[in-house]
């Protein structure tokens, strides 16, 4: 039993997810969208109607956060951090010149994290036959047991994701959810539309 747990915890894919800001934040936000409404629903001190409303509101908030995060972080901050660093902060660093963009580097990093047998098996597949044919990257992956992982590039992408995560989840998502949640709750029938008492206009002619 413990051996099985130890083997499961040695999984490289899980370790990659754990060290990947975007993947880990997405998983945590999904878990929050289940956990928080769940705890509201099992609270016996609140009336059933309030529970339903609060749980739905919390779920919609977390779902909005996840949507904002996925729509914003990957295309903007992850890729943007690599491009910005390559052009400004680290323009003289040779490792940045080896990769065209963040996607290519992340693809390389995923392969470099695997063991050499799996790496070779992946690289001989049809869709990977012509990958990493420049700057000795393919040789690095197919011949070395521990290929260079270029931590500076990885860190740059992670820092971009971290800044994006903070901006997206702590600043942007609350603003967007503030605007969208109430119409969604009304559409679900959990909130009534505010009734404004119409003030009759002054009839100046009378």
């Amino acid at each position: 039993m413990i051996s099985a747990i130890a083997n499961g915890l040695s999984n490289s894919t899980l370790a990659n997810i754990a060290q990947n800001t975007t993947a880990s934040v997405s998983i945590e936000t999904t878990l929050k969208s289940i956990g928080r409404p769940g705890f509201i629903l099992i609270d016996n001190d609140i009336s059933p109607a309030t529970k339903k409303y609060a749980a739905a509101k919390e779920f919609l908030y977390q779902a909005t956060c996840l949507a904002v995060y996925l729509a914003l972080i990957t295309p903007v901050f992850k890729k943007g951090a690599f491009t910005l660093a390559k052009k400004t902060f680290f323009k003289n660093k040779p490792e940045f010149a080896k990769f065209k963009n963040a996607t290519e580097y992340l693809d390389y990093h995923n392969l470099a994290s695997k063991n050499i047998t799996n790496r070779r098996a992946t690289l001989i597949k049809d869709h990977s036959r012509n990958k990493f044919m420049h700057d000795g990257l393919r040789d690095e992956l197919t011949t070395k047991k521990d290929p260079e992982k270029y931590p500076l590039i990885k860190g740059t992408i992670e820092l971009g994701s971290l800044i994006g995560s903070v901006l997206g989840l702590a600043i942007l998502a609350p603003q967007i959810s503030h605007v969208t949640i109430h119409p969604m709750l009304r559409a679900l029938g959990l909130e009534k539309k505010e009734e404004h008492s119409e003030v009759p206009k002054l009839d100046k002619k009378a």
Binding site: A6, A18, S24, L31, A85, P174
Partner: protein, 210 residues
């Protein structure tokens, strides 16, 4: 140190060792500051409700920051318990190794299990940290918030209520605000010997008696 050097140092550190706790703690810190500010900026909401919601949001994140850190670090420590050669080799071979029956096969299996355990330790550490952070997000933080925020809010509300405007609230009765004293009375038997009162039966309703 120039900005470029500082950036390089931070990025290399993050690229080598990006703990799952870093991002959640950063998000919780900024949320703890920004969410109450946004709530207080809402002009449509009633001031009392705004104050209550802002304090509640701030408290949630204040609880979340140390819990994320502790859950991640504690779970990560478990890696040292699990990353043992015993968990990466055949049970029979391990039993033989423990009994001291060291054959070349047992020795080889133990050495490779030891190497595997050492190689897997960083991965297990990161994975357990991630699981710890997820557990904190899913169970620990919502449970702690449910258990602690309401009593804390009650205390804060009570304090605010007392120091509101100095007027006496006659509609609600606060027992803690009123002190009840037992009368300070000592029974004295000598009173009946003072002859201050008539001991003979007094009849009628005539004022002055007799």
């Amino acid at each position: 140190m120039s900005v470029s050097n500082l950036m390089e140092k931070i990025c290399t550190k993050l690229g080598t060792n990006n703990k799952p706790t870093y991002v959640v703690m950063a998000i919780a810190t900024v949320k703890g500051i920004c969410r109450p500010i946004f709530t207080m900026m809402d002009k449509k909401e009633n001031p009392e409700t705004k104050k209550y919601t802002a304090i509640r949001e701030g408290l949630t994140e204040i609880i979340a920051i140390p819990v994320y850190w502790a859950s991640g670090e504690l779970a990560g420590k478990l890696a040292h318990v699990l990353a043992k050669p015993k968990n990466f080799m055949d049970k029979e071979l391990y039993k033989q190794h423990k009994k001291g029956q060291i054959t070349p096969e047992v020795s080889k299996a133990f050495d490779s299990a030891k190497e595997l355990a050492e190689n897997n330790l960083p991965k297990m550490n990161k994975n357990l940290m991630f699981i710890g952070v997820c557990t904190a997000a899913l169970f620990v933080i919502p449970a702690l918030c449910s258990a602690t925020i309401r009593p804390l809010m009650n205390v804060i509300q009570k304090k605010n209520h007392k120091s509101d405007d100095g007027h006496l609230d006659v509609n609600t009765f606060d027992e803690s605000a009123v002190k009840f004293y037992a009368p300070n009375f000592q029974h004295n038997d000598n009173l009946k010997y003072l002859n201050s009162f008539h001991r003979t039966p007094v009849g009628g309703m005539k004022v002055g008696g007799v």
